[in-house]
Symmetry: C2
Subunit: 160 residues, 2 copies
């Protein structure tokens, strides 16, 4: 993936402009990083990646852009309880192929994504969403399902 901005971010231009925002080099770089990376990145991760492409971009811009993207519903902000937020493209989350839930280790903070068992879960969640939406008059846009516990490494250590 040498240098340039992939087509991945092009689809955002319209969305940006539609709301009166401008597409800038930094924003493109940030979108590109989000597009070409698999994991849930922290703001700092993103900053580092963006820095490789466009060294003059600053941390503030990363935060500002992520906030903007959040507001535009283009990215989703996760919280695994380790004191820093993670970000992921909604496009990716909505994609059946990428949609996943999490196993979070409460000891070492390791996060495992899983996509197995998802089918049944998602089906039930959809049903629940409908019920909740109606009852609480709440427009549900996304969900988080996380299981907390001890990963194999930490479970072993605990026994010593």
């Amino acid at each position: 993936m040498p240098g340039g901005f992939g087509k991945g971010s092009v689809w955002c231009h319209g969305r940006f402009r539609g709301y009166g925002y401008r597409m800038t080099v930094s924003r493109q770089a940030i979108l590109d990083v989000l597009n070409t990376t698999v994991k849930h990145l922290s703001a700092e991760d993103i900053y580092h990646e963006v820095h490789k492409i466009h060294p003059s971009s600053g941390m503030s811009t990363v935060y500002r852009t992520l906030e903007l993207l959040s507001r535009l519903k283009l990215v989703f902000k996760f919280d695994f309880g380790d004191g820093r937020a993670r970000y992921e493209l909604n496009k990716r989350l909505e994609n059946k192929e990428y949609h996943h839930h999490h196993l979070v280790c409460i000891n070492c903070q390791r996060v495992i994504d899983y996509t197995d068992f998802i089918e049944d879960e998602v089906e039930l969640l959809k049903k629940t969403e409908k019920g909740l939406s109606k009852k609480y008059n709440f427009k549900i846009m996304r969900h988080i399902l996380q299981f907390y516990g001890l990963c194999n490494r930490c479970e072993e250590k605990g026994k010593e």
Copy 2:
């Protein structure tokens, strides 16, 4: 609920002592607050409540105690993505009567607990937990299920 420390925290004494920790006035007060309050409290909320009972307790003690209680698996730390952690007694979470999931408004951060629809969800989640535990060799202790979206108030405002 006038003044004194309810019986609620007594059951913890043994647990504390068993691990070589001491039961102190501050810790009792913190446990008592957690015991007698319904909502997910932030550290600061807890500090304020504790302050009413035992004004000389400091913030550090609250954080330290919550950390300890977390380690002892007596409380669970939640994260709703608003930059501050919330705490709730595990005892309460395990209690079928209290177990709930969350609706989180991404605009005003309001959190709605719901207990409806829980039955089916929990049943499926249990099944999933089993499968995941085995496959990933992960000891699951708790789960979080949160739906994110817009509450009625914010949805309305958005339309204006």
